[in-house]
Subunit: 453 residues, 2 copies
């Protein structure tokens, strides 16, 4: 078994490395600028919540190719005929470029760059795959979490989906992104340890089933965790289980419903808890929840204090992939800087280094976004992209996750009301500046000339 | 930033650890048996391909809690009042149990255990979350890959989806599982390095765009990779690009189409290639492909030699979560062994340690599966679960991935024809043995008595 470094330069597509070898052999030393953005919104999303930047920056700080990894590439058919210079280059590889990014927790829309990389093209190319998979995944999950949080209308939402995540490490990243999107915490302990996210748990059916008797199972748990027991009611019969706990006169911190009629059962359980004076015992619900079920449960008057959301959240079940792309927008070659765009098959990308400006009204509500060239200034609008890495060095310590979550919640509150609904809404207005449209025309004319040539 | 060990015992849900503390405090030392299986098939799947076992076994061999991780748990609110014994137990934690499993690449169906763990209940519980996320994810991807491979009818399918995977590590595991399901290779270099999977690449639009002129971009690539160039045709205009390459009289290994009318363009490109005698130049296609598009392209007579499948494969886009569960089926307590089952809300799980038997006809075609108790023998049927770990030690080195792929392809060939189609088919016959049904009745009577008590 080969060791798996989380910062391995091999965490990329093969063509990034062959092109890198090509750029090096061809003496392509100019700077290139790539921008990372979503091409469109998934069908049931009205906005995105940017997330995943922190892992990208850690990767850029630590990326390296070990001697053994370079040995593997030397033996690879694709590099037959590539000289030593490339492998020596990889042995000393470090990222030396600049990065601009929107802070995590920022609400964003299609076409708006979340990340802008300016670096020697060989570096910018090698890191592409890692940046895309990290940003697209965490942005998907944070966006889904924001919807669940909106639907819960102030009740807690917990991320409980590690077991259905796309592998264990994906579960840790999902917990992180879900927290940015508004979740109060996660069941994932590694996410608690690594990122300081609050972690929560209840008890599993297996705890009850491992005991001969349900009542014994409850009593023993209350003995061991007198102040932090959330007892699971639905292993056999919910209301019988509730009566057993009440009869013990041992107040748990909470109870959990994991199946059945969550709205009706939660109301009946709440009534019984209140009758015996246990007004502060919380009711947790779980079991195939998502933002739609949360919205219906809230509308039906369910007495649920906290929702545990599993697969739907950790996999962004209804939209498990985000069309995020990484496009060359400017390249220096032979001493001249050239803007770059792509026009094939109705997939237009705009050239030039860009900034996103957001116009808010006096109450902080979103009015419109304008995508402009980096050096434009749009009066009364705030730029979203900030410099985060210069010449390979981080400019500031990472935002705390709590700050990212607060940013997200604050921006969600400023969204037009129809975008905050779960149903699809008309697109939020995102304009391109006149200078950007002019530049696009100019590049289009040049490219058409080239393509015909 | 805290170091992230891939074998950390914290890669689990908090309740696994609180229950573990509970089992320890309660002196619960008996063995428990848990089985891991899919509750049902996703809507558009007729079978599953088991995958992910290898990573589970590596985890069980190496799982540990570092001193720093234990310090984190000691300070966690959930463990207030838990004595030193638990933390000392974690410091020495190792998995000491037995594991039975179906080999990777085995075709399987709902209710059939993919993994059976017998261990002290505390150990079996701590590892639950890791096993579920790994097996469910890799099984999803291998199953999706098998469909794409079937649709391609002998043409190559490559996994090209890392950039849309659920994080970089998820991309590596997706590449692995896709290979088991029949893909010829992947673009993911780390998967090539770590697992020995063949890796493939072409060139990106950015290579073309970085050059002033498309023809220069092609020529330079051919100069650097004379024997292994797959040139991308659709940056500007596919057929103009093809003519430029032909005019250069430099034969590439292949060409790639990434957008537009893949069926028509591939036919026109094939014709031109053949006209100039380049019959061995391969045509690669990519761009939002999945098994349905592959099937349509093949039916439309597309001249495509290899399909690069991205997001649809690396996220199992149409079915991104698999309802895999891990259920207690037997537990020892107070010196007696008790079978365990769950009956709530129409979610029945069968008790007892099980084996899956598969009946094949004389040509190796699937007839039916029978889920039975471990000690049953079903004449003329083959058991699928094999012992892989005994008392914490691996019994044999891992299967090679090539063996797992061959097993999958061999079993796919033996499936009833309607299950091999992409459209939903009637369920494959999976029976429970009479002894298992009797045991279920017996446990049901006992549980009903308990629940009423």
């Amino acid at each position: 078994m080969k060791p798996a470094s989380p910062y391995s330069g091999l965490l990329t597509d093969l063509y990034e490395l062959t092109m890198a070898a090509g750029y090096l052999e061809a003496g392509f030393e100019g700077q290139a600028t790539f921008e990372l953005f979503a091409r469109s919104l998934p069908k049931r999303r009205n906005f995105l919540v940017a997330a995943g930047l922190q892992q990208c920056l850690e990767y850029l700080e630590h990326i390296q190719f070990s001697a053994e990894e370079i040995g593997y590439l030397r033996g690879h058919r694709a590099f037959a005929g590539i000289g030593d210079a490339f492998f020596e280059y990889l042995a000393c590889f470090r990222f030396s470029g600049d990065v601009w990014a929107v802070p995590e927790g920022t609400i964003c829309f299609p076409d708006e760059p979340l990340l802008r990389i300016t670096a020697p093209i060989i570096e910018a190319q090698i890191i592409e795959t890692y940046l895309l998979s990290n940003i697209s995944f965490q942005t998907l999950i944070a966006s889904k979490a924001a919807r669940a949080t909106i639907a819960a209308q102030g009740r807690s939402v917990m991320e409980f989906g590690t077991r259905r995540a796309h592998g264990p490490e994906s579960g840790v990243l999902a917990a992180r992104a879900a927290f940015i999107g508004g979740c109060r915490g996660t069941s994932n302990v590694a996410a608690g340890y690594r990122f300081g996210i609050p972690t929560f748990g209840t008890q599993a059916h297996s705890w009850i089933m491992a005991h001969e008797d349900e009542e014994d199972a409850f009593r023993r748990f209350l003995d061991i965790f007198p102040n932090d027991s959330v007892l699971l009611l639905d292993t056999y019969e919910v209301h019988a289980a509730m009566e057993k706990i009440i009869a013990m006169r041992r107040k748990p911190r909470g109870v959990r419903l994991d199946s059945g009629d969550l709205a009706g059962d939660s109301q009946r359980i709440r009534r019984r808890l209140d009758e015996v004076g246990w007004n502060d015992v919380q009711i947790f619900a779980s079991g195939d929840l998502d933002e739609d079920r949360i919205e219906s449960l809230v509308a039906a008057g369910a007495k649920i204090d906290a929702f545990g959301v599993g697969s739907a959240l950790s996999t962004s079940l209804d939209a498990p992939a985000l069309g995020v792309i990484y496009k060359l927008v400017e390249v220096e070659s032979g001493g001249t800087v050239r803007n770059s765009a792509k026009f094939s098959a109705a997939k237009i990308t705009y050239p030039g280094r860009k900034q996103v400006f957001r116009r808010l009204d006096s109450r902080g509500c979103f009015v419109e976004d304008i995508i402009a060239l980096e050096d434009e200034r749009i009066a009364g609008a705030l730029p979203l992209l900030e410099p985060v890495v210069r010449a390979g060095a981080r400019l500031a310590p990472a935002d705390s996750l709590a700050d990212a979550q607060a940013r997200c919640m604050d921006q969600v509150a400023g969204l037009p009301a129809e975008l905050r609904r779960l149903a699809p809404a008309p697109a939020y207005p995102v304009q391109h500046s006149d200078r950007l449209e002019d530049l696009l025309d100019e590049v289009r004319r040049r490219v058409e000339k080239t393509a015909r040539a």
